[in-house]
């Protein structure tokens, strides 16, 4: 073949071995995280609010007059998820702070991306770890509590008028898990140290919440909730479960729009930080 016909050739390697390429990343990271005893203790501690709410339902079924001061209705599930949202912060730091940061520090990201994996596979694989962990402490106890409520107090919960509870639990759990996971991954990709990333994630959430609290105390304006991711998630909870929270009266559509914006921003950060090249300065 003449030399002038020797141009760049197309990639002729075999196709990927499997369609779901992100799964090994998720599986191996989950295996490493779940091998830590402290993490299992944290997961167990995250089950406490569920136990408390089950006891609450049981007490009301045994002593119906307790329903007056311990109301058992749809709000119960919103309160459970509000508690679980606190645990997702700790679980996200424990499980997610180092997910990208450690790969950046050790250079493992180059190894990942030199395989037949795209950046999207890598991000979905890492996101899958956090989603699995966060859904395990939000969706799972939420739906289990609904099943327990249906079996313990069918006269209170087995009604068409309360059929919205399960979809509401799914929606709120997904919102909490997706937002927390994306923010944690984005922060993790901005640092090479898991410790810095973890504290950065916590500092971001706490800093924004503190700023919201101060501005709300100053001006009593519902728009201050837009500043804080936690307040936005609580706004969704208020709308979905009919909770009453004085400090969070923002219409849910604004809160949802803010959460979507933050999620897109996190994806853009991940897009710019997760790269198969390392620029040495």
């Amino acid at each position: 073949m003449p030399i002038y016909e020797q141009t760049y050739r197309r990639h002729e390697a075999r196709g990927p071995l499997r369609r779901v390429r992100f799964w090994p990343i998720t599986r191996e990271a989950l295996r490493l995280i779940l091998a830590r005893r402290w993490f299992l203790a944290l997961l167990a501690a995250a089950g406490l609010p569920f136990v408390v709410q089950v006891i609450r339902i049981y007490v009301v079924t045994r002593f119906p007059q307790a329903n007056q001061f311990l109301p058992v209705d749809g709000r119960l599930f919103g309160e459970l998820l509000a508690w679980q949202a606190l645990f997702t912060m700790f679980i996200t730091i424990f499980g997610g702070a180092g997910l990208v940061a450690n790969d950046l520090r050790t250079g493992a990201i180059l190894v990942y991306l030199s395989r037949p994996l795209t950046r999207r596979d890598y991000v979905i694989g890492k996101l899958g770890v956090l989603l699995a962990l966060n859904l395990a402490v939000t969706l799972l106890p939420g739906l289990m509590l609904y099943l327990v409520a249906l079996s313990l107090a069918p006269d209170l919960f087995w009604k068409w008028s309360l059929a919205w509870i399960a979809p509401a639990v799914v929606a709120q759990s997904l919102a909490i898990s997706i937002v927390m996971s994306l923010v944690a991954l984005a922060v993790s990709s901005l640092s090479r140290s898991a410790r810095v990333a973890g504290l950065g994630f916590f500092g971001l959430l706490i800093g924004l919440e503190v700023a919201r609290g101060i501005l709300y105390a100053l001006y009593r304006r519902p728009e201050t909730a837009l500043l804080s991711l936690q307040a936005d998630l609580r706004s969704l909870g208020v709308a979905l479960f009919g909770l009453t929270e004085r400090a969070v009266t923002l219409p849910w559509a604004y809160a949802a729009a803010m959460l979507v914006t933050v999620s897109i921003a996190c994806l853009l950060i991940l897009r710019s930080r997760v790269r198969a090249v390392e620029i040495v300065q």
Binding site: R195, F202, G207, V210, A211, I214, L215, A217, L218
Partner: protein, 268 residues
Amino acid sequence: MRDTSRPVPFGRAARGVFDLALEGMVWSRRSVLMAVLVGLPVVIAIIYRVFLPAQLKPRLTPFELYGGLVVFVYLRNLLPLVALFYATALVADEVEGKTLTYLLTRPIRREAILAGKFAAYVATTLSLALPAVVLTFFILLTSRGRAGLGGAVPDLLRDLGVLALALLVYGALFTLLGVLLKRPVIPGLFFLFVWELVANLPGYLPRLTLTAYLRSLVRHRPAEEGISEIFGQVLPSALCLEVLAAAVVVFLAAAAWIFSTREYVMEQ
């Protein structure tokens, strides 16, 4: 010539480590991150003073807002986080970067290494936090003229002392956690944001927290809401100072003892 059979004197060794650690702490991206966090109340003060009064009528006076920022923002949230960030890293950073070996093989006592690093932590955090508090104070309290400013300055000085004490005591505690545990961040966060809530309970339980003593030392306490409004206790100042000083000594002594006896194996 120095007698090489003996370690470098404690003071000189600690000073050397202090210089080295300070350089790494002050001029780092992490300190920029912390400066942003600590500067948050300054931004709120600027918003209060410059942007919003024209459109919205604030419900708090400048001095009430300043009190709220000191107690709820600096003392309760930001400075403990700053302490957790820096103090857990004093040894962990060296372990993570596998550079601890170079420090430990020098002819200096391990206690001197910890003392130098802790002194660098104190210098860094004080130089980040205290100017921000002073700036917040003056931005807020001069927003309606300078009347009453002189009377509030003693409160500012007292606040600066309490905040410095908070950085010392939380720093000592998290230094201990940093040398004791491999992953001190989660236990530290649990201590700050779960255990410290005990300060709002009745009876003697608040005495098992650090925040109850620190909060009691601040003279201008803003009105609280919820459970802390009912049970919030003010402990005697002398008791607070004694307990906090004892806590600093105990935590640092324990950290120094653990650091000097522990064998560190670097992960390959």
